[in-house]
Amino acid sequence: MKKYFGLVFIALLIACTKEQVTKQVMNDKIPQQLPDTLRKLNVNTKMAYIPGGEYKPFYSSDTGLVTVHPFLMDERPITNSEFLAFVKANPQWQRSKIKQIYADSSYLRTWLSDTTFAADALPDAPVCNVSWYAANAFAQSVNKRLPTLDEWEFVAMADRTSKDARKKPEYSDAIIDLYLQKDRQFQPVAKSTPNYWGVYNMFDLIWEWTEDFNSVLTTGESRGGKYEDKSLFCAGSATTSTDLLNYAAFMRFSLRSSVKAHYTIANLGFRCARDTMIVKK
């Protein structure tokens, strides 16, 4: 009888869909909760209402439409001064005190001390050299969360005048031109033109963390999992993406697939998002 249970159990395991397996792998990588308690922060970054809808993501196969529910997104990235307020209120996230598993050695690298950012850094420039864990903690401290990859990409479809500008050749070109410029992260936020949703700086300053940044490529085996055999690497790239000419999106997914949650990078920051029950037309 025991033997039968064993068999049934194995059968069940096999019956599990790939998606569940993928999710499990992801859960291993990113803890759902941070173990320490956070002091809440009174930072009220203005948010834009995004009504959501169905969209066809860059990474999907021919059939896959993804539903994005209505949500709020910070209209611009989190700044140096906002992050400074966060580490002052939560010393465990200061450079000298952060646990090694939460950030690599370049965490807040340019800062002069635990509570002083670089002399030449603008207070309203986006904060960079922050890990996914740190970004996540900041978001929790302001009662928000990081946007999901689909939420971020949904907003990123827009140009100044339309919700989905991906078919316009100049849309991708303009983004790539921005991506090719170095040291953009030192400029202040919300100075360039906002997009259709009133959101600033989706492309011109930094790369941004998303809640599930590694869900597309990096599961247990980096070419396996949910999007099996659809690697964006090398030859795989030819068959993966729905819009092959969207090099800008390629570059974002390439960046996301190359990072781990404790990495901190000179041009990688974040903005926050929040659920909303409001459904506007």
């Binding site: 690497f233 090099y247 390439s254 990078i265």
Partner: protein
């Protein structure tokens, strides 16, 4: 006396057999043999060179452990006279550093992505047997470092390149180079060796910085390059930068083609290749005028310089040479060799009258 003769014959026969076997091995170039070669000793850092230079030959040394350090960078360089272009590189040059190893060597490749890079990079070495040629193992976000170790089991001249998406863009910006795996015992010594790599470039004016050229995706997809170049720059092998040799010397060119798209018809005007290692492999062909080098492929060409002069290196798809920059020169100095080449017609016969 008789005994001595017999012994000598036996030794001669054995030597003959042994030589045959060696030649056999070289010819077949089987990778399975090299798998079992033991790489001895502590790892040493490999000598790397920027084109057109190549590192010292491996000679007769045994297989060893080598460390190859490469850094990926995104830098502004000059593509044409004074015109700047945003290149992406291995070790700051296009093409990237030349890597020279021996069959059976155990190579640890450390890839560091510069902290001020915008994008992740990696490396796919065609000399590697293993997933992605190392691409997955070496994917490094800006400021990060990644490593992997491989055994060089197939001798030949191989391309390496960045395989981070979008791959054509990374290659189109100059992220390629050559790795030579010499067979046991080394390639036959020659007088001069040079490193030349062709690439096609697709440009447009940057909308952000005036005067700067950048990668043009549309032209790349249409495979319509503005530049086809040796060593990443118009004139990289012209004027003061010509490669040189003397009359009587044998020249070996390690020629690669990074692409991303064009196939090269490599030719040296006024020379005939005595030897061509076809596609960089083990088959040697002789007396070749023009050799085809696929994108992501290579060739080793050898010729003796018999006559002084300037020899023009081209992609014999000639619009690329004369309109898009794929042209270089080899300057051969020394005494004239009228037996091989002289101006003017045949000497007049003395009159019989």
């Amino acid at each position: 006396m008789k005994l001595r003769f017999l012994t000598l014959s036996a030794i001669a026969m054995m030597t003959g057999l042994f030589a045959c076997k060696m030649a056999d091995n070289k010819q077949s170039g089987t990778s399975s043999d090299a798998v079992n070669i033991v790489a001895e000793g502590t790892p040493t850092v490999a000598e790397l060179t920027a084109a057109p230079k190549v590192p010292a030959p491996v000679g007769t040394r045994a297989a060893k452990k080598l460390i190859v350090n490469l850094e990926t960078t995104e830098i502004e360089g000059v593509i044409d006279d004074t015109i700047p272009y945003t290149f992406w590189t291995f070790n700051g040059t296009v093409p990237g550093s030349f890597i020279r190893v021996r069959e059976g060597d155990e190579v640890t490749l450390n890839l560091k992505n510069a902290a001020n890079s915008v994008l992740p990079h990696n490396i796919d070495l065609h000399a590697v047997t293993g997933p992605g040629g190392g691409a997955e193992a070496t994917t490094a976000a800006p400021g990060q470092e990644a490593s992997f170790t491989f055994k060089a089991i197939n001798p030949g001249l191989f391309v390496y390149h960045c395989a981070a998406p979008p791959v054509p863009m990374h290659i189109g910006n100059g992220m390629y180079g050559l790795i030579l795996v010499e067979p046991a015992g080394g390639l036959k010594p020659v007088d001069k060796e040079y490193y030349i790599m062709q690439g096609d470039f697709y440009t447009k004016a940057s909308t952000v910085k005036k005067g700067l050229l950048e990668f043009n995706n549309d032209k790349a997809v249409a495979e319509n390059p503005d530049y086809v170049l040796f060593n990443g720059k118009k004139g990289s092998l012209l004027g003061n930068n010509m490669i040189e040799a003397k009359v009587g010397e044998t020249v070996r060119l390690f020629v690669g083609n990074g692409g991303p798209n064009m196939t090269s018809s490599f030719h040296v005007i006024g020379e005939i290749f005595d030897n061509v290692y076809i596609e960089g492999g083990s088959t040697v062909s002789h007396n070749i005028q023009t050799t085809m080098i696929p994108a992501g492929g290579s060739a080793i060409v050898e010729f003796k310089c018999d006559v002084p002069g300037e020899y023009v290196l081209v992609d014999h798809s000639l619009s690329r040479a004369f309109n898009k920059g794929c042209i270089g020169k080899l300057k051969v100095t020394g005494d004239a060799n009228p037996k091989v080449f002289k101006k003017g017609g045949a000497e007049k016969q003395k009159s019989a009258y």
